[in-house]
Amino acid sequence: MILVALIAILFLGGVLAWLSERLDSKLPRVIALAALVLDLVLMLTLLGGDSADGSWIVALNVQWLPRFGISFHLAADGLSVLLLLLTAFLGVIAVGSAWSEITERPGFFYFNLLWTLAGVLGVFTALDLFLFFFFWEVMLIPMYFIIAIWGHENKNYAAMKFFLFTQVTGMLMLVSILTLAYFHYVQFGFFSFDYFDLLNVSTSSTIEMWIMLGFFVAFTTKLPIVPFHSWLPDAHSQAPTAGSVILAGVLLKTGAYGLIRFAVPLFPEASMNFAPIAMALAVLSILYCAKLAFAQTDLKRLIAYTSVSHMGFVLLGVYAWNEIALQGAVMTMLAHGLSAAALFMLAGSLQHRIHTRDMRDMGGFWAKVPRMSAVALFFSIAALGMPGLGNFIGEFLALLGAFSSNLPMTVIATFGLIFASVYSLWVIQKIFHGEYSNSKFDDSHLIDLNRRELAYFGAMILGLVWMGMYPQSFLDLSAAALQELLAGTQELVSTVVQN
């Protein structure tokens, strides 16, 4: 029941926030914050509980559409819980970042924010593939609204592109889901979209490959991975700060989660046959987008490309498919969620202050805004993979795991870490060092971080340091879930690897 409550609180909170706008324009943000904090607290109660059924901490299964054997099946294991926590945490942060930035139609804004997050929570907990797809799509429309209404100069184009990319590939996934369910019907004689039922379906390897590709395309578009990445720089650069935070911090992780939970376990054989290509795409993403990031002049586009680059490590880790690599992928998701969100918020707060994202106009800000500069430096070095911070743990584990499964790819991917240092430090040098000049922008609002901003950046810094210094607390939580996923596919995978 707690899982339903988590999702329902956000749905209802969204409606309330929208309605409350009539009373007072400051009320929606309070309601949104309250709903998210309530969710966060409820999630923390999940941590203590003993798992009743294998690695599953909590589950709920009721019939929904019996005609198709579709049930309302929600469940959470360690992996889900980690991502739920990330979602709620970043949700709180996103409300914080929107606190004073969104003044126009705040009710509708927080409605969309909460509904997107509700969809994400659904994605992280759904164990019925129809339900999963349902939530997968539910989170799109509110996100479209967030970009299209509160975005920047080219918002219509960006919002439309985001929507078309994710929706069309989503439909390919729907065809795949239906095909899989149909094969289940042929083999077992009844309709079911339940994850555990569909795990038992066996098909010929050609068909399995095609079905798997439907999932793969949908998930890697969301992740995103070259060549499906081109919506992301546009969406990120045009979205309002809170939108970018949700997009980078949470929405991208749904793609990775889908790969770990569905794409590989449902089609172990096809996935392992496909692994070399997937890993090659991952490496391509890491290097190519690092290169592209270096060529940007728009600060938000730059961070967007670094996101794609970092997500390459996640894909690499997933397709290495061993425990260390998966742990690395999960850690990267969590750490990148925090660091990318923080970087987007810094870019957003800069834009809020000087109304430009063009780095060619910036320089020498350290003297003007020392606190902001220090925070930016911290998150940049976190993103480049400094040991002692979360991102390092994630990427290191992903590479370590991948090392044992595909040596050449791993070696090439490692260069991504070097490129990351180059562009991260370059950004710091460009914006915060050098000569200060206010000829290109009005610097009358260029003030340092205020207390609210320091508070949420502080929380995120704390999170990254915790992940870097004591990663075991996170690894323990996801270990059981990942081991179970691995165990379920071990037999098939080992035969493929031997061949």
């Binding site: 299209a148 439309m160 929507f163 069309v168 239906l178 149909y182």
Partner: protein, 490 residues
């Protein structure tokens, strides 16, 4: 043949609607009153809806060779009568300021509904033609209704003549097709062309059947505005008064599709490869033509016209699927999608109709700029309808599309499914463009005044449709069960 009371009982909905038509006619003869006429029409249609709904669980009868009153036909009788009732309510404020007699419009609408009921209950060529012509003849009148109005900005005459001529041509195609099929089977009832029994007059070659089928299908495709027989659709939609467009687009098409479905299933038409190929081509063309041309439009009626072409194309996929799978899923898919299409299409036309009147229709997408901030409730309903047409979850359109995909997958129609994905992708673009318009800042001065008090009924109808849209999008299980039951009768 002697009709007993037991024979008449299943015909109750049809009789009620016919009686309503007579009553409306008499009332107009005694004293003209717009309000009373509309009230009689609404009451009659409501009674017919209830009667059909009550009969549904107990009736399964072939009444005369012409009409089959089973659960399936009663299901669509309910749908058509309810939709007709909604359209009457939407028409009332629309026509309120027409500088001409308004009452005959309702008469035409009720008679058209009689035609629609006959069509959904038809398993015989004679009743098909009778129903179809009753429906079409009334529609010509409805399309041309504001002809004598001095303030009409539309081109009702152009639309009506275009519709009349092309409709007559397509009817003649159908008649010729029916004649050829009759030559083959020796009966006017829908019956299998494959296992011809001994009552066949002469055993002719299969090519007779195929030519007959193709003629009949092209005639039906005209009425359903499937590409390449779609040319009339945008012009007629554009020129007609909005409630008439809504009637044409929803009930007109649904009734025709039900006939097509029964016909195709009962004659085993899809056993011929040629027919399957023709249907596939029609589906692909309709989806692509409808969606691509909708991109180029700036008027809502034309966008909805092209989108309806595409939606009919989607439905044809499920129709084709009915031949390749043993289960009834594809028939259920057609049924559910027709219901969904009825709700969302009626809703979309309803929104446009609520802000329009016979004097001025607000038909341009740009008229709706900033609607979200001026009339949030109306904008929300419109967004819901458009997203449903695009097939986004939480709406009935998504469940409908899910059914279609399922039917396609079950029959392994991969190529058609790919076209469906591509078409839906293109579709998103123009639906979202309208939504985006509504989100932009309000222009000064706003294009149309806020709704007045006489539109309360229309708002009520739209709210009901919106709630149905959400309910069937989130918890469609009861309706799914119902549709599963009624689909067994096909």
């Amino acid at each position: 043949m002697i009709m007993t009371l037991a024979d008449l009982l299943p015909l109750l909905p049809l009789l009620i609607v016919s009686a309503t038509a007579v009553l409306v006619m008499l009332q107009i003869g005694i004293r003209r009153s717009h309000t009373v006429t509309a009230a009689i029409a609404v009451t009659g249609l409501l009674l017919a809806t209830l009667a059909a709904a009550l009969l549904m669980s107990v009736t399964n009868a072939q009444v005369t060779p012409l009409l089959i009153i089973d659960q399936y036909s009663l299901f669509f009788t309910v749908v058509c009568c309810a939709a007709a009732m909604f359209i009457v309510i939407l028409s009332y404020p629309y026509l309120a300021r027409l500088d001409d007699d308004k009452d005959e419009y309702y008469l035409l609408l009720v008679i058209a509904t009689v035609g629609a009921i006959v069509m959904v209950s038809s398993n015989h060529f004679v009743s098909t033609i009778l129903g179809l012509e009753t429906l079409s003849m009334s529609l010509y009148g409805m399309v041309a209704y504001p002809l004598h109005s001095r303030h009409s900005a539309l081109y009702p005459l152009e639309a009506a003549v275009k519709y009349l001529v092309l409709s007559a041509v397509s009817s003649s195609f159908m008649l010729f097709g029916m004649a050829l099929i009759y030559a083959q089977t020796g009966t006017l009832a829908f019956s299998s062309l494959i296992d011809l029994s001994s009552n066949a007059a002469v055993s002719l070659s299969d090519s007779y059947s195929i030519v007959g089928l193709l003629l009949l299908i092209s005639g039906m495709a005209f009425k359903l505005s499937l590409a390449p027989f779609h040319m009339w659709t945008p012009d007629v939609y554009e020129g007609s008064p909005l409630p008439a467009t809504a009637y044409l687009a929803t009930i007109g098409k649904t009734a025709m599709f039900v006939v097509l479905l029964r016909f195709v299933v009962m004659t085993d038409a899809l056993s011929y490869d040629a027919v399957v190929i023709v249907f596939s081509l029609i589906a692909v063309l309709s989806i692509l033509v409808g969606n691509v041309l909708a991109l180029l439009q700036i008027e809502l009626k034309r966008i909805l016209a092209y989108s309806s072409i595409a939606h009919m194309g989607y439905l044809i996929i499920a129709l084709i699927a009915s031949n390749f799978a043993a289960s009834t899923i594809s028939i259920e898919a057609v049924t559910f999608y027709l219901l969904a299409y009825m709700i969302m299409s009626l809703g979309a036309f309803g929104v446009v109709s609520v802000v329009s009147s016979s004097e001025k229709e607000f038909d341009l997408v740009s008229d709706y700029q900033g609607l979200f901030w001026r009339d949030p409730w109306l904008a929300l309903i419109f967004t819901g309808m458009l997203l449903s047409l695009a097939g986004i979850p939480l709406t009935v359109g998504f469940i409908g599309k899910f059914y279609l995909f399922f039917a396609g997958v079950e029959s392994s129609l991969w190529l058609l499914l790919l076209v469906l994905v591509v078409g839906s992708g293109i579709g998103l673009f123009y639906y979202l463009r309208i939504v985006y318009r509504m989100l932009l800042p309000v222009p000064t001065p706003p294009q149309f005044p806020s709704a007045a008090g006489d539109r309360l009924g229309s708002y009520g109808v739209l709210t009901i449709l919106f709630l149905l849209l959400l309910l069937l999008g989130v918890y469609p299980a009861p309706v799914m069960t119902l549709i599963e039951t009624v689909s067994a009768f096909i």
